[in-house]
């Protein structure tokens, strides 16, 4: 079966794997991991420039925003106002309109504050932003985000950076059934099989940072994730067999001696 193109806000992307740029040992390791992963979208954060060290290396020196789509995030924002301020600044750096909204509600588990997230989605959409929304795995809230103008629904698999894998497959499947928007698992992936599972559930993509950046061998894990996403997508499209409790021999009995 031929796959349809991976499209977000009318832009086509080659890879269904989106990679985060945080937590790497160096910018050069980060750049290598991104190249190996095949990702053509990377998330980035907006922070103060270090004015006392003018020669400090910058992310943009290692990852060319002309070749890779930067997806500015709102990491560390706890209110709609914080998120909007951050993304307006991101837009000002170089005209980015496609953004990842992430409004947190709890510093410990990093769960999204969904009321503020919904409000931010509405406000940012009105300002012309194309908002990809980090959210919980609640189908009702996913619907409200869609109605508010989100361009992608990005539910967590498990808490950010936890590596616990997909905790609620049922909810992800329900969200998949109800939305035509790109559905991207954001947060909680731990290993390649988690990424494959996400794709086999019918998700359009996976966003991974910690599982690659903090792996013992990040570049190798980036490669593993690349193939995991491709594999999961192909598996989903191929139409799996019906599970059965009984065995079904692969070899015919015809001609048995």
């Amino acid at each position: 079966m031929i796959d349809k193109r991976f499209k977000i806000a009318n832009k086509i992307f080659k890879s269904r794997l989106i990679v985060g740029t945080g937590k790497y040992k160096s910018f050069s390791e980060c750049a290598k991991a991104i190249k190996t992963s095949g990702a053509d979208i990377v998330t980035v954060a907006v922070r103060r420039v270090n004015i006392s060290n003018k020669n400090k290396a910058r992310l943009m020196d290692y990852i060319d925003p002309k070749k890779i789509t930067y997806l500015p995030n709102t990491a560390g924002c706890f209110t709609a106002e914080d998120a909007i301020r951050t993304l307006r600044l991101a837009r000002e750096i170089g005209g980015w309109k496609l953004v990842k909204l992430e409004v947190l509600g709890d510093k410990k588990n990093l769960f999204p504050e969904m009321i503020e997230t919904l409000r931010s989605t509405e406000l940012l959409t009105k300002e012309g932003f194309k908002v990809m929304v980090y959210c919980n795995d609640d189908p009702l809230m996913a619907k409200r985000l869609e109605n508010a103008g989100a361009v992608a629904i990005m539910p967590l698999a498990a808490p950010i950076g936890s590596g616990l894998g997909i905790q609620n497959k049922v909810n992800i499947k329900i969200i998949r059934k109800q939305t035509k928007l790109p559905l991207i698992i954001d947060a909680g992936i731990g290993q390649a099989s988690d990424a494959t599972t996400a794709m086999e559930l019918g998700c359009d993509g996976v966003l991974i940072n910690t599982a690659i950046a903090k792996a013992k061998y990040p570049i190798q894990m980036a490669e593993a994730m690349k193939y995991a996403v491709i594999s999961g997508r192909k598996s989903f499209l191929s139409g799996r067999i019906n599970p059965s409790l009984l065995g079904s021999a692969s070899t015919t009995n015809k001609g048995i001696i």
Binding site: G20, T21, G22, K23, Y24, F27, C30, T43, V44, A45, V46, R47, R48, V49, I51, S52, K54, R58, L59, M60, Y70, P72, N73, A75, R85, R88, L89, A90, E92, I93, G94, I160, G161, A187, L207, N209, T210
Partner: protein
């Protein structure tokens, strides 16, 4: 320049002293910031980078200069 004439401003949370009529552009040049990789906020308002040579800084101005860093 007499030190009494210096103006105190805050850049990224740090106090700095500048001479009167110092423009935002002079500040960015002094800090060696590449304009195409940053965004600037003056007293919580985003500044159009094409206009920074026309903006003279005043006492107590709070400037934020941001860029992209690694994030998830």
């Amino acid at each position: 320049m007499n030190i009494k004439n210096k103006i105190k401003i805050t850049v990224n949370g740090k106090q700095m002293q500048i001479i009167p009529k110092f423009t935002l552009k002079s500040l960015i040049t002094k800090l060696k910031m590449p304009l195409n990789k940053i965004a600037i906020e003056l007293n919580k308002k985003i500044i159009d980078k094409n206009r920074i040579s026309k903006i003279q800084l005043k006492k107590g101005d709070k400037i934020e200069i941001v860029h992209f860093i690694g994030g998830g």
